[in-house]
Amino acid sequence: MIAHYFKLIWKRKGKNAFLFVQLIFVFWVVFAVFSYGISQYRYYASPLGFDWREVYRVQINFKTEDTAATRLMIKSLKHDLKAMPETDQVSYSVNVSPYLGNIWGNGNDNDGFVFNARYMYADEDYARVWKIPMKSGRFYTREDLNSKYTPVVVTQKFVDKFMKGKEPLGFKFHFTKEMETEIIGVAENFKFQGDFTEEDPFLFVPLADDATDLHQAINVRVKPGTGPEVEKKINDLVENATKNNDFSLVKVDITRKSTNSRTYIPLAAMFFLAIFLIINISMGLFGILRYNIARRIPEIGLRKAVGASTGAVRRQFTGEMLVLVVLAFVIAVIFAVQLPFITTLPIEKDAYFMGIGAGALLIFVLVYGCTLAPSQQAAMTLPAKALHEE
């Protein structure tokens, strides 16, 4: 029977060409939207490795020389912030922190250890502020800073990517030519660039007291239930301590929303484009089928006269359309599957192929749904009446 459908489609190829091309384009658009959507969802569903709730961040440039007074001011500011009744934890870091959009990267192959990872300088309280869960070992403390090797914490992603078969805890390597480090802890995750980003391998490196220029962000975790009035208190404290107002203070929740909107907006736009196309193709299919059936009523009458059951007539129309969709799908897929091999996709390959599968399923279900009503109409046609229609 499929051969019979195919013969009719082939003979009517001129009439089917526009629909066929339209289906190919719809497949491509749906593949793209689904792949991107699946990829973004997978990023979103993967663990962040920190808790952004109740965290305020002050971005500041102390603009002073590294003097004892500056160090004291930095230290006392942290102390004062921590002394606030609303405060839970306070930490200094560089401007590489969740949702900031800044990245620092380092790679080094000294000692034969090859890595290429993101990193940040952060003080010993950073893991407590951001509630970073540890997979093994621990986050560094102030006491660790006196050891021969600089203690660092890496993420599990770092271990998975660069340390296959190696025990991470106690592993020593040159982070830079001058800095020899020892891994003392493995954090579960640290997807600091945003909810919709891929997690990169990451290192936490201690922030030295004398590196005053690297004290670029103050991360303040307030106690749960703290109201927005705390923002003014933090602002006043920082302003009084630094004697300038050249800083920004924001609740991380706001930065997070803003960062995520950069994904939501194009995703929503693509989604609406796909919906529009799908509605378009649905209406097109519905209209074409109704037209085809109206045009083919004598043929339906003949088929019923020579023994076609109502199911056979219904299958005739759904079958023809599904064969056409399968052909369009094959053409669309032939081009689509080659894409990962000829260019670098901005999404993971498996998400791309899952997108193709999910998109194809949607189109097949949609086409089948659109053919049901007109096909049923054809199936219910009375043969005697149909045979006398011209």
Partner: protein
């Protein structure tokens, strides 16, 4: 072979009942060639549709080959038509996008025959109507007479007991009409197929075993 008892057919609108057939009772024997005649609108085609199970009567019974076809489900009727009845229409009703052989094998497709068997039987039917050499042509490449011969091949490909022909020569000139009529006569004589033919043409009707005349939906003695 075919028995109609008190068969009536009416068509209804909101305000009007139109009687197309009125209390028709008749028998058609096995191997008989019967023609149905009458003026336009007298119910000839309606009667043929009733015998051919393409439409259902308002009242009365139809039985074919001893099978009472009253209250049968539509799919059962379709199966019965497929196995026992062949149809020939005035306007041929060939599917223009299918080749001659694909048109002929259509009833076998719904019978579930294998592709090989369909091909064999279709070629055999086309051989009988003298169009085997045109099996890969399309209907628009054939003359009117050839198209009707393809329709006859389609009607007989499933070896039906009864062939219903609705004005089979109506769209043909006299020469081609005679050719088609001869094919039907041969089919009836050689293969003992019962043929029921609606016609306007007295000369064609005279060639059949019996003429049934209709007037205003009733049989005329």
């Amino acid at each position: 072979m075919i028995e109609l008892k008190n068969l009536s057919k009416s068509y209804y609108t909101d305000v009007l009942e139109t009687v197309a057939l009125n209390d028709i009772s008749l028998k058609i024997g096995k191997g008989e060639f019967v023609s149905i005649m009458g003026p336009s609108g007298c119910g000839k085609s309606t009667l043929l549709n009733m015998i051919g199970l393409l439409d259902s009567p308002t009242r009365g019974h139809v039985s074919i080959k001893g099978v009472n076809l009253e209250n049968q489900k539509e799919n059962d009727l379709a199966k019965f038509r497929n196995e026992n009845l062949g149809f020939i229409f005035q306007s041929f009703h060939l599917i223009s996008d299918l080749s001659v052989i694909d048109n002929v094998e259509l009833p076998l497709l719904y019978r579930g025959e294998s592709a090989k068997e369909r091909k064999r039987l279709s070629e055999e039917a086309l051989e009988k109507v003298g169009l085997l050499n045109r099996k890969n042509h399309y209907p628009n490449q054939l003359s009117g007479g050839q198209r009707q011969r393809v329709a006859i091949a389609r009607a007989i490909v499933g070896k039906p007991a009864v062939v219903m022909a609705d004005e089979p020569t109506g769209n043909l000139d006299s020469v081609l009409g005679n050719e088609v009529m001869q094919l039907l006569l041969d089919l009836n004589e050689q293969e003992k197929v019962t043929v029921v033919m609606v016609t306007h043409d007295e000369s064609m009707a005279r060639k059949t075993h019996r003429v049934i005349r209709l007037y205003d939906g009733s049989l005329v003695n």
